[in-house]
C-alpha cells in the first residue's frame, strides 16, 4: 500500500486536491487516469491543448514507473495526486519502486532519429518543473508542475 502523497511533505499553503487515486501499475490502466488529468488541468485554467500536453506528460511518467521502476512486475501500485498550485497544476506520482537516481535519467537528442527514449523528453518539454524525490518509507515521489503562464 502506498501512503498518500499529500502527506509526504509539510506544506504551508492550503491544499486544494482535485483528484487522488491509486491504480495498478499496468500499461492497460494508464488510460483510466487520462480523463481525470485532462479535466483537472482545465479546472486549473490550463488551455485545452496544454491540458492535453499534461496528459501526455503524466502518461509518460506512469510508463516510466511501470517499465523502468517496477520493471513490469505484477501487483504494484501508483498513487496519483493532482493539486491546484497557484494558477496551475501540481502532479504528484508516488511509487514503491527502487529509489531512482535522477542523474541516470536520459532522453535522446532530438536530432538522433530513432525509436525510444522520447518519454522523458516529453515530460521535460511539457512541464515547467520536475522534481524527483525519494519518498519517506521507500519508493519515489515525482512532482511535476505546470502553470497557466509557464511562470515556474
Amino acid at each position: 500500500m502506498i501512503d498518500s502523497a499529500i502527506n509526504v511533505t509539510a506544506r504551508s499553503e492550503p491544499i486544494d486536491t482535485l483528484l487522488e487515486i491509486r491504480f495498478p501499475a499496468r500499461v492497460d490502466r494508464i488510460k483510466l487516469i487520462r480523463p481525470g488529468v485532462d479535466a483537472s488541468a482545465r479546472m486549473c485554467g490550463l488551455a485545452p491543448t496544454i491540458a492535453s500536453d499534461v496528459v501526455l506528460a503524466v502518461d509518460e511518467a506512469c510508463q516510466n514507473i511501470i517499465v523502468h521502476g517496477y520493471k513490469g512486475q505484477d501487483g504494484c501500485e501508483i498513487a496519483l495526486t493532482l493539486i491546484r498550485h497557484g494558477e496551475g497544476l501540481l502532479v504528484e506520482l508516488r511509487d514503491q519502486a527502487p529509489t531512482l537516481d535522477p542523474s541516470k535519467i536520459q532522453h535522446r537528442a532530438l536530432h538522433d532519429i530513432k525509436p525510444g527514449k522520447l518519454g522523458s523528453y516529453f515530460m521535460s518539454a511539457i512541464m515547467d518543473r520536475i522534481e524527483y524525490l525519494p519518498a519517506p518509507g521507500g519508493g519515489n515521489l515525482l512532482r511535476m508542475y505546470k502553470q497557466k503562464d509557464g511562470s515556474i
Binding site: 494508464i30 509518460e60 518519454g119
Partner: protein
C-alpha cells in the same frame, strides 16, 4: 486501438484508430513493419487516432527507418491535431511526409 490494412497495387494503406499507446504499441509495430515488408509505399491513415504517446511515435519511427532501408516510402495521412502536436513536440513533423488525405498522398508519390 484498431487497425486495418488495405492494398492498392504496390501501395499498402494502414488505417490506425483509437489510442496508440504503450498497451497497443506491439500490435501497431507488427502491423506497420508488416506493411513496410510488403509495400513500396506505405500510407498510414491516422484519421481515427485519438491519442498517441512516445511508444506510438517509436513505432512510426521504426517503420520509417525500415522503409528507408528498403528504399520504400512511408507517409502519414490525416494526422489529427493531438498527434500532430506530439510529432511537433518531438520535432518529427519535418521528418515524416504528412498529407491531408489519401488523394494528395498518392499524387505526391506517383
Amino acid at each position: 486501438m484498431t487497425e486495418a490494412t488495405g492494398q492498392i497495387t504496390n501501395r499498402r494503406i494502414v488505417h490506425l484508430a483509437g489510442e496508440i499507446d504503450l498497451e497497443h504499441a506491439p500490435q501497431v509495430r507488427k502491423v506497420l513493419l508488416g506493411a513496410v515488408e510488403q509495400g513500396r509505399l506505405v500510407l498510414v491513415d491516422m484519421a481515427g487516432v485519438e491519442y498517441i504517446d512516445s511508444s506510438g511515435i517509436a513505432c512510426l519511427i521504426e517503420a520509417l527507418q525500415e522503409s528507408r532501408k528498403k528504399n520504400a516510402d512511408l507517409a502519414l495521412i490525416a494526422v489529427n491535431p493531438q498527434a500532430l502536436r506530439v510529432l511537433k513536440l518531438a520535432r518529427l513533423d519535418s521528418v515524416f511526409a504528412i498529407h491531408t488525405d489519401l488523394t494528395s498522398a498518392v499524387q505526391a508519390n506517383s
